[in-house]
Subunit: 359 residues, 2 copies
């Protein structure tokens, strides 16, 4: 991370003077905004790094947050920010937290923003696949950790997630032990990397456990409780005796919806969430859910950036999930005692990934 590009080199490239470059990089007022911006763009493209960012007393990280509540302890983002800030502070980094929008991303180029503000690295939380910076990350020169997003092929961006395959597998194994075979999955939206990972994990786990995959039982919705009523009746009529949900909010909606249908949880239908938000234990019945350790996700955000600042180019850093068993899951009353018949020739059974692509 040493600063190799000099002001002189930038000046030569731009055909201007070193002092003009210096003014631009120090955000001086007596230089036109256009010239300043084009100098900054060039400096960044040449790999120039803000010297201040490497002074011991000025090591700065930034956490960009979007599409996520984080102000209250009950919010998903709260513990993530807590973990990130706490660990970074221990290691003498100051951390800024900046809620952003797609418009902010259009107005500010990522690398320029990082360089101008003297940040060493950033942790991006809650980005959607459509966000303008998702494209800029592909060529970024700054160590960047993204929660639940992945950028293929760039050495400077690392994906941080809770291991979806292992989390969904814990849920499916728990339901199988309880005798469930007709297991439904009500997922979040399709425009999310992690939601696609969880669908893929569900299909893999069903296939691995020799359970048939019914397209009517593997559904994309939205990461909100309000999505449930549109899908739960179909899942039930397709024979689901258990419903795994893409997050706890969906699970809350599913439980409410089942009650409206006069179905008891867990006696008639078992429900499993994902995340273990504080509210999960307060639902009626208390929710069995796949826990993400959100403090650890935040702490790991720091550890990944620390590794990348030490020239270790991580691509994926996954954390262990755990299954928190509460009262929303029970033995399947329609337990099939006869031997399972699985159509091992069906495309769905043979090829979960292909099936996944249908969405």
């Amino acid at each position: 991370m040493a600063n190799r590009v000099t002001l002189k080199e930038i000046a030569e490239r731009m055909g201007t003077s070193t002092s003009t470059v210096s003014k631009a990089l120090n955000n001086a007022s007596d230089i036109s905004t256009d010239l300043k911006n084009s100098i900054i763009e060039t400096a960044v493209k040449m790999g120039y790094k803000n010297r201040n960012a490497f002074k011991e007393d000025k090591r700065k990280l930034i956490l960009f947050i979007e599409n996520m509540e984080y102000k209250k302890p009950s919010d998903f983002g709260y513990d993530i920010i807590l973990g990130f800030k706490t660990q970074a502070a221990k290691e003498n980094y100051t951390v800024d937290i900046l809620p952003i929008t797609p418009d902010f991303q259009k107005e500010n180029h990522y690398d320029s923003y990082m360089m101008q503000n003297g940040y060493n690295a950033s942790f991006g939380v809650g980005f959607s696949l459509e966000d303008p910076w998702m494209e800029e990350f592909k060529t970024s020169t700054f160590p960047t950790a993204l929660l639940d997003n992945i950028i293929q092929g760039t050495p400077n961006v690392c994906n941080i997630s809770t291991d979806s395959d292992e989390g969904i597998e814990l849920a499916i194994e728990h339901l199988i032990k309880l005798g469930h075979e007709k297991i439904g999955f009500l997922n979040g939206s399709t425009n999310s990397y992690i939601s696609n990972r969880r669908m893929s994990a569900f299909l893999k786990s069903m296939s691995k456990n020799h359970l048939p995959i019914d397209p009517a039982l593997a559904i994309y919705g939205y990461f909100i409780a309000e999505a449930a009523p549109y899908h739960v009746p179909n899942l039930i009529s397709a024979g689901a005796t258990a419903i795994v949900c893409g997050n706890d909010l969906i699970a809350k909606g599913v439980i409410d919806c089942l009650k409206d249908m006069n179905l008891k949880v867990p006696e008639d239908v078992s429900v499993i969430g994902f995340d273990d938000l504080p509210m999960a234990s307060t639902l009626n019945p208390p929710l069995t859910t796949i826990k993400q350790d959100r403090v650890a996700l935040g702490v790991n955000g720091y550890f990944v950036l620390y590794a990348m600042l030490n020239n270790v180019s991580q691509s994926k850093s996954l954390l262990r999930p755990s299954l928190i068993v509460r009262e929303s899951t029970a033995v399947c009353k329609m337990r099939i005692v006869t031997e399972k018949i699985v159509d091992k020739d069906s495309v769905m059974y043979q090829n979960p990934e292909l099936f996944n692509q249908r969405f």
Copy 2:
């Protein structure tokens, strides 16, 4: 990582005195080996940690190495150990390097060995799926990083690898740009986690790039040059114009074997390795290969253990590979100019994972 279990609790569990427990844990001579061992086993099962392991001046890590050369700079393990020791030293951990065997693992229980010798955490390099400790890792209470091995479901063991999917994808994309479609893969042995990951990556990448998968072109062998002669003739008669190899040693064997068959590399057949060992650039022709940054793998061994010692339960930590293009790859002279015919209904095309299970 605080030490919660007391000698008194262990003594009560064992129905013996605190001083006897103290003698056992401090490896005193005036106590029978059998009693000493059973006390240590009990202490470890109860989660007892050696207090010395948590004194600032006694923080100790150990790297266990097996099935891998590491003494010479040209050996695969050399840079891994260098990176691990260097980073750990920077952060005031002392590191011991211990070459081990399956017999050593049978004679020493993993957790007992760690506790008795006051180690905080370990980095395991070169373990095979049959190693006795692979079973013990499943219930270990010590933070453990394993290079190219994975233990499902335990919170204390993390897999460290170079991203196989991304590495193989770089190689396949490079060959496709050169007009190759009949691409063979000569892999390492089946009793290796990473070799299975690379086969899976090859099948996924071929499928993703809409190239047909021919079982005769996706072969398991051994991670040695000597394996090549048994497979290369078959790959060539199956029509391979390019051969991707599970590591650089296999690639060396493939190049020699092709020469014996009077085939020119790269004019007749392109060859790609995996690892970028120092010898790769000295081959004739110099080898195009998927580079693993071995120093970074070692440094990351420390970073993963550091995260786990800070209660961040990582399951997978993958590093970015890069493709080093040298002279062993060239444009396919049999480039097919007519449109590709891909049998999208074939099971092989639809279902690489299933195909993979055939081995």
